[in-house]
């Protein structure tokens, strides 16, 4: 029995769901672009935690390989995201997303 399995699977599920929800709420309610990025990372890492827990309980390595994919893609996404944020900052001198209000119907 691995160290991961000393904690019941339901607890991992609960923890991941709570972390994921915190991430979702952060994206929806925070106004600072950097904090929004952090919230998205939190969502993705909640998924990683869940995949590792399932992988260990199913004795199947595929889940952990998937985690590497998610990490690599998340890194690429953050690199692009921060570049876009820099570009926004140069034009608006702010990282508050309320300054981005040119597009409305």
């Amino acid at each position: 029995m691995s160290a991961i399995q000393t904690i019941p699977l339901e607890w991992y599920l609960l923890l991941s769901t709570v972390l994921f929800t915190i991430g979702v709420l952060g994206v929806l309610f925070r106004r600072n672009a950097i904090i929004i990025f952090m919230s998205i990372e939190l969502m993705l890492n909640a998924v990683n935690l869940l995949l590792v827990a399932f992988s260990s309980y199913l004795s199947d390595s595929k889940g952990q390989v998937f985690v590497f994919f998610i990490m690599a893609v998340a890194a690429a996404e953050v690199a692009v995201g921060l570049a876009i944020l820099m570009m926004v900052y140069r034009n608006t001198n702010s990282s508050d997303i309320n300054t981005l209000n040119k597009l409305k119907w």
Binding site: L44, L51, K62, I84, N91, T92, L103
Partner: protein
């Protein structure tokens, strides 16, 4: 697979062009490369090859890849101006080509990992391209919103994938399908996972109520990039959506059918009604693209053996029509510095050719016979009708009547309003392509059997 390898190498060649300075040759190389890719892709027809249980080039994948390549070719010709600024030329080529790689992965995956990677390989270049107009604040805003909403949707998709994995122990589509139909009761997290994946995919295809990012992004991004997003990205996302839900999750259709029903109805009504109120043509076309996602959801919901070919035909008719409209909006807004409906006033007097092509494309999007759009809607409605979704078909017919109103507003502006008299110069290769597109729209409408019989 040949398409995937060739497109990836073309992307690498585009990056090498910067180092070995053959930038001038890059445009013809890419066009030739796309033609070669299209031909080689056709050799995969009927081979049904499965690669490492990760992707399968069955006829479904080959047909959608072919549509994507044709639209990409037309897009490259209409977007020539996008590849003229000296500084970022090779980057633009490479980003677009890698986005195409992602699109091909999304139509051919048989494993959740490939679905996820395909979506991301398609999306990340699109985030950059949406912001490629670096000094324009609306382009910045579009890129930022697209990135946040795209990553947010990916989060939902991944959480869904993780839950499905937890319940079935596999990422492989056929193994999941076997677990679904296996008879043993699945734990409840599986159903939550399916619904979360549905939310993630609905974000990507911009189905209501997850469509709110689309109009902002489509309006803010440079028009050529918008054309790419409205056609190729949407086609690929729908192909991926359909591949997942019509086969793997068809065994648990009662969990998601109701939700998709409501989504389709909402998408049709919200898209069409909001489009009526727009003054910017770009934003109007963005809402119309949301509405078209609603029609395609109808075929997804029908989930009979008819819906694959119905969606293939709809996606090609819609993409070709949209490429033409966006190309013309691009030409007009460049010349007049405005993308309002007023900019089209009297176009039939100053540029009759543009007006005729625009009319044919708009008639096709509105679904008036004998254009391709009419038969596209006809096939979608038939497949939905056969599945017994009569209420939804009625909503769709009402929605398309509303659609006729705002498409005709542009046509009326072109033919019955006074212009300011200046003729817009159009490059000859654009003219040729626009005429070819117009002929293709009518030809697809006159001979729909060639595509509808494929799948």
């Amino acid at each position: 697979m040949k398409a995937l390898i060739l497109l990836s190498s073309l992307g690498v060649i585009a990056l090498l062009a910067e180092i070995f300075s053959f930038k001038k040759l890059l445009y013809p190389i890419v066009l030739l490369g796309l033609i070669t890719t299209f031909v080689l892709n056709m050799f995969d027809w009927d081979t049904n090859k499965l690669y490492f249980k990760m992707m399968q080039f069955d006829n479904y994948a080959v047909a959608f890849t072919a549509v994507i390549l044709v639209v990409a070719f037309l897009w490259f010709i209409m977007a020539e101006g996008f590849f003229k600024e000296e500084s970022n030329l090779t980057d633009h080529f490479a980003l677009v080509l890698f986005a195409l790689v992602g699109a091909v992965m999304m139509v051919s995956y048989t494993n959740m990992a490939m679905l996820f990677l395909g979506i991301e390989i398609l999306s990340i270049p699109m985030y950059i391209l949406a912001g490629s107009n670096k000094t324009d604040v609306s382009s910045n805003e579009a890129a930022f919103k697209y990135l946040i909403m795209g990553a947010f949707a990916t989060g939902f998709l991944l959480f869904g994938i993780a839950l499905v994995y937890g319940a079935t122990g596999s990422f492989d589509l056929s193994e999941i399908a076997a677990a679904v139909s296996g008879g043993t009761a699945l734990s409840s997290i599986f159903y939550v996972g399916v619904l979360l994946m549905l939310v993630g995919m609905a974000f990507k295809v911009s189905a209501a109520p997850f469509h709110f990012w689309a109009p902002d992004v489509y309006q803010g991004a440079p028009t050529v990039v918008t054309a790419f997003m409205a056609t190729i990205v949407k086609t690929a996302a729908f192909a991926a959506f359909l591949r997942l839900f019509s086969t793997t999750f068809s065994g648990v259709s009662e969990t998601w059918m109701q939700t998709v029903w409501v989504m389709a109805a909402l998408t049709l009504l919200v898209g069409n009604i909001t489009a009526v109120m727009q003054t910017s043509t770009k934003r109007m076309l963005a809402y119309s693209s949301v509405a078209h996602a609603g029609y395609m959801l109808l075929a997804l919901l029908a989930a009979n053996n008819y819906s694959n070919s119905a969606i293939l035909y709809y996606a090609s008719a819609y993409s070709i029509g949209s490429i033409a409209t966006f190309a013309i909006v691009n030409i007009i807004s460049d010349a007049k510095n405005s993308d309002g409906v007023d900019a089209f006033n009297g176009l039939s007097k100053t540029n009759p050719m543009l007006a005729i092509v625009m009319t044919i494309a708009l008639l096709s999007l509105a679904g008036i016979p004998p254009t391709a759009g009419f038969f596209a809607k006809y096939f979608i409605f038939t497949s939905a009708f056969m599945a017994g979704n009569i209420g939804l078909v009625l909503i769709a017919i009402i929605a398309s009547l509303i659609g006729v109103y705002y498409y005709f507003r542009l046509i009326i502006a072109m033919y019955f309003k006074e212009s300011d008299g200046q003729t817009i110069a159009v490059e000859s290769n654009h003219k040729i392509v626009l005429v070819i597109i117009a002929i293709a729209i009518v030809a697809l409408g006159l001979f729909p059997d060639y595509i509808i019989g494929l799948l």
